[in-house]
């Protein structure tokens, strides 16, 4: 896994989202919603926007799935994948 993508995602969650989640509590396997980090509906939207802006990618409707947004690392993996695809196209 590209550490900088994972690190960036963790950094977005701990510093940019309007939720009080300390950096130390976020692990790659942390579940984003519910019993994990407990991101609510507003935080989820913010996260989508912030990730799109940070990495200059766009989530298509079919990308917005519970699987992609299950954990920190599943989200980071998706982002990496999309970045690689974009590089290949270029």
């Amino acid at each position: 896994m590209n550490m900088s993508v994972l690190e960036s995602v963790i950094e977005i969650i701990s510093t940019q989202l309007d939720v009080k989640i300390r950096r130390e509590t976020i692990r790659p396997e942390s579940i984003l919603m519910e019993e994990g980090l407990g991101l609510d509906s507003i935080a989820v939207i913010e996260l989508v926007t912030l990730v799109e802006e940070r990495f200059a990618i766009k989530f298509h409707e079919q990308d917005l799935t519970l699987e992609t947004f299950r954990t920190v690392e599943s989200l980071a993996a998706f982002v990496e994948n999309r970045l690689n695809q974009q590089v290949r196209v270029e």
Binding site: S41, V44, E61, L64, T65, L66
Partner: protein
């Protein structure tokens, strides 16, 4: 007479209705689900039987000669939650419907006139699809609280259904309906929207509310349609469930529309009707979201007090839907009261006469605060304008000052009252500042201390934290000696608002 006209006040009406639904042609195919658990209409009587038995035991424990008591029920947005609610209604048990996260939301605990509090403990059996009435009963916690006083049962011929008013901040004010009028309201909804058993109805809003239960769930139940409820909906869970359930009707809020706007990259053509309610949807959002559901969005105007009042039809033009309330639900009348000079441009308070409205407000002790007859005109608290000689009504704004915070409507007057209850506070002014915070609009409060008292903002905030939920807490609290006044002697709120805006932008300048 139409298929929706029925005598919902007849004893056993709701129970009979459930029986009928379980025997309808599509009863084995049509389901109720919460995404994890599901059941068919056909299975309902069997599922409900053990729960109803348990409720009868509770009722049997009411002391000899006690008039019918009221049960407080903290209802989760889940299928077991809905089953218990249906069982309570089938047993004609008077109840107070509360959200299951009552403690979390910082709302007042159960009303003092309820001897029993029902709660469903979270966590169903390991085999998540193994739903049974016995299972639900096992998870049903029944807590008995000591009643301070014996309260008179209000005069009513049938069971009562109480709801908290939305936007309440800790002071319990209960909206009281008769179970029969609640059903009448639901029948109205089913009739207006022409709900049929073939519909697939998605309800991603809380059940413990007039909207989620009174309008959405009950109307779908009366129609015998498949329903999918969803608690704690967010963009991802909504899209996920939508893909699986393929609804053609959805009950949402403006907050949903806002978030789905980000997620719907192209129009969703499966809907024939999407209803939004709760707060008035901002015009820009309505214009942006309506095409994303192929023109099927309608704004339903109503309240916990009156139920469903008016709505446009999906077939109406977007211009019509944006500008007007639409037509009243069956039997509902609306009027704009034009008083004196304040009614410039024909704007006045909007009143409604409703055959299925509430019968009054009660407080935490069960005492009546207000009684209402169905022939009374009731003020909605909104200002409106009548167009086209009264045929079309346009809502212009709220009569009182209110602000939207995370989906809750906070009445500033109520907030001021709460602030004035704090130790040492003489006068409080709460203002809505047109600057966004993460919670919605920004709230600023100005406090004047009682003579001889020095107020400390830090300790005030600590006190507030125990009395108010987070969303009702002001973002800024200023202690001041004086407040600017208008010639009329009223506080110059606009001047205070400008002051706060200036301070906010000034501090931003300094930080650059």
């Amino acid at each position: 007479m139409n298929r929706w006209t029925a005598d919902y006040s007849a004893p056993g009406a709701f129970g009979a209705l459930l029986e009928q639904r379980s025997l309808q042609p599509s009863a084995a195919a049509n389901t109720l689900s919460d995404g994890t658990l599901h059941c068919t209409y056909a299975a309902l009587p069997t599922l409900l039987a053990p729960i109803r038995d348990r409720l009868r035991v509770i009722r049997g424990s009411f002391s000899q000669g006690a008039e019918q008591e009221t049960v407080a029920y903290e209802c989760p947005t889940s299928l077991p939650g809905a089953l218990v609610l249906m069982a309570l209604m089938a047993e004609e048990q008077s109840l107070v419907l509360l959200p299951s996260s009552t403690a979390e939301l910082g709302l007042a605990p159960s009303p003092r006139f309820c001897r029993h509090i029902l709660r469903l403990s979270a966590g169903t059996s390991p085999a998540a699809t193994d739903l049974s009435g016995e299972n639900v009963v096992e998870h049903l916690q029944i807590i008995e609280q000591v009643l301070d006083q014996r309260l008179k049962r209000p005069a009513s011929s049938g069971p009562l259904f109480h709801l908290r008013t939305s936007g309440s901040m800790g002071r319990a004010k209960l909206v009281t309906h008769e179970q029969s009028t609640l059903l009448g309201n639901a029948a109205n909804v089913a009739q207006k929207y022409r709900l049929v058993p073939e519909d697939r109805i998605f309800i991603p809003v809380p059940l413990a509310h007039m909207y989620g239960f009174g309008a959405a769930f009950l109307s779908g139940l009366l129609a015998g349609a498949s329903m999918e409820i969803q608690g704690r909906s967010n963009l991802l869970t909504y899209l996920d469930r939508e893909r699986r359930f393929l609804p053609n009707v959805a009950w949402v809020t403006p907050t949903h529309c806002e978030m789905l706007q980000r997620g719907f990259k192209s129009p969703h053509s499966g809907y024939r009707l999407v209803i939004t309610s709760g707060q008035r949807i901002p015009e820009a959002l309505q214009r942006a979201f309506d095409p994303l559901v192929c023109g099927t969005l309608v704004n339903q105007y109503g309240s916990s007090e009156l139920g469903a009042v008016a709505a446009c039809a999906p077939g109406d033009s977007l211009e019509e839907k944006v500008a007007t309330l639409g037509s009243g639900f069956p039997g509902v009348e609306l009027r704009v009261v034009l008083e004196d000079e304040s009614s410039s441009a024909g704007v006045g308070p909007l009143q409604v006469k409703h055959p299925y409205g509430f019968i009054g407000y009660r407080d935490d002790d069960g005492q009546w605060l207000l009684r209402r007859e169905s022939s009374d005109w009731f003020g909605t608290g909104d200002l409106a304008r009548a167009l086209d000689g009264g045929n079309r009504i346009q809502v212009v704004g709220r009569a009182g000052q209110s602000v939207n915070r995370r989906g809750y409507l906070i009445q500033l007057e109520e907030l001021e009252h709460q602030l004035e209850q704090l130790e040492g506070v003489g006068q409080a002014i709460a203002l809505s500042i047109p600057v966004s915070s993460a919670h919605g609009d920004t709230i600023a409060a100005f406090l004047i201390a009682r003579p001889g008292v020095v107020l400390d903002v830090q300790s005030l905030r600590l006190s507030l934290a125990t009395k108010l939920p987070q969303h009702a807490t002001p973002d800024y609290i200023h202690v001041t000696d004086t407040l600017p006044l208008l010639p009329s002697g009223k506080v110059d709120r606009q001047s205070l608002i400008q002051q706060v805006i200036w301070q906010l932008s000034h501090s931003q300048e300094q930080n650059r």
